[in-house]
């Protein structure tokens, strides 16, 4: 347990440095964000890290704490209309265009898996589509991927964006946590990928998702990652970005948060 005065210290630090509002009642969130930073900095727990930070006021460690708190909280079905559009129109269209071939979907920067599993659960609930779609997911963080693969979420996490009917249909309670059914977990194949690395190959995916990452990147990294994502698209493929991501001039917008290769979209029109 992090003492209330330490929670208040983190909240004040976030407000002062980044104008971030952190709710001290959500101690679980602060704890879960501070734990990886604490490990990286060589402390045995989040409590120990924050206590030391309060004592020594280390500039760099202070920023590490603020940055960890600034990450968006993962949610199931973020912008749920986007998921409805993908399931209702985009994936069926892609399946038709591919004939008998599977539709290949790559979920990049998947974090702890909430979004790719949202897609997987919807596929599992849609007759005829599940067998036609292959889901691949990647992230930079091994730790995030381990958690994602386990499909194990806390009571707080399963209440972020996940409708109760989906929870009942696809999860079981194990102790105080909730675990996703093996059937849905097995629909996703995982790999560690750094989107800044040379990915080679390319052109293999009909749908690529990268939601909310671009906005966090420095300008050079932004352009490189966007270039890699575009290069990964098969002809006629679609890229899904976050509601606040802007791809600039390189891609044509073809739906809500949905983009296609500019040349290909024009020639098809």
């Amino acid at each position: 347990m992090i003492p209330p005065s330490d929670l208040a210290y983190i909240a004040a630090l976030c407000l002062e440095r980044a104008g971030l509002r952190v709710d001290t009642e959500r101690s679980y969130l602060i704890e879960s964000r501070m734990a990886p930073v604490a490990r990286r900095e060589g402390y045995e727990s989040a409590d120990a890290f924050i206590a030391a930070l309060r004592n020594r006021r280390d500039e760099r460690q202070g920023w590490a704490a603020v940055e960890a708190m600034a990450l968006p909280e993962p949610e199931f079905f973020r912008d749920h209309t986007v998921f409805e559009h993908l399931l209702g129109q985009v994936l069926p269209d892609l399946a038709r265009a591919r004939g008998g071939e599977p539709v290949r979907v790559w979920h990049t920067a998947c974090g702890t898996g909430q979004e790719v599993y949202s897609l997987a659960m919807m596929l599992a609930d849609t007759q005829g589509l599940e067998a036609r779609v292959e889901l691949f997911a990647s992230d930079l963080s091994e730790r995030a991927l381990e958690k994602a693969q386990a499909g194990l979420y806390s009571q707080f996490e399963v209440q972020r964006g996940l409708p109760a009917r989906m929870l009942v249909r696809h999860f079981e309670k194990v102790g105080e946590s909730f675990v996703l059914s093996p059937r849905v977990r097995q629909m996703v194949r995982w790999r560690r990928v750094n989107l800044m690395d040379d990915l080679g190959g390319g052109g293999q995916f009909d749908l690529v998702l990268c939601r909310g990452l671009l906005g966090q990147l420095a300008p050079q990294a932004h352009d490189r990652v966007l270039g890699q994502l575009t290069a990964a698209l098969a002809p006629g493929g679609r890229l899904v970005l976050g509601a606040k991501d802007r791809p600039g001039e390189t891609l044509a917008r073809v739906g809500p948060c949905l983009y296609g290769d500019r040349g290909a979209v024009r020639s098809a029109a």
């Binding site: 009917r165 009942v168 309670k173």
Partner: protein, 122 residues
């Protein structure tokens, strides 16, 4: 303005819920058990009901059954908000006609997410 009835025997929970709902732009009424909640609903049906399960006099489940049998009682979106957190209990609530389910402890983000999914908040 959308209206929400908060039904909970804990005054603290009612206060916390009221603050969250008012921030989301709801007009809030409170009841401390199912009987009092039914009286509210027979006067005017709210758009949403945040409903505790275990309460004295009339519990949440009995309230839900009675509400759904009332004229106009199918309209309000009912969100259970309870310490119950077993999948079986959640299924039971949904089968009885609840629209959503929140496990305590909760926060503003969870309430906002559920109301948004039910089309009651942006």
């Amino acid at each position: 303005m959308k209206t929400c009835l908060v039904v909970d025997d804990s005054r603290v929970i009612r206060k916390v819920s009221r603050r969250i709902l008012e921030d989301l732009g709801f007009e809030v009424a409170e009841a401390s058990d199912g009987l009092e909640a039914l009286a509210w609903c027979s006067a005017v049906m709210p758009d949403a009901i945040l409903l505790d399960w275990r309460m004295p006099l009339m519990d949440g489940m009995e309230f839900l059954h009675r509400l759904r049998a009332e004229p106009g009682g199918a309209t309000p979106k009912v969100i259970f908000c309870t310490v119950e957190n077993e999948i079986e209990r959640i299924r039971e609530a949904l089968d009885a006609g609840a629209d959503e389910f929140i496990m305590k402890p909760f926060d503003g983000g969870i309430v906002a997410g559920k109301l948004c999914y039910l089309g009651l908040a942006a």
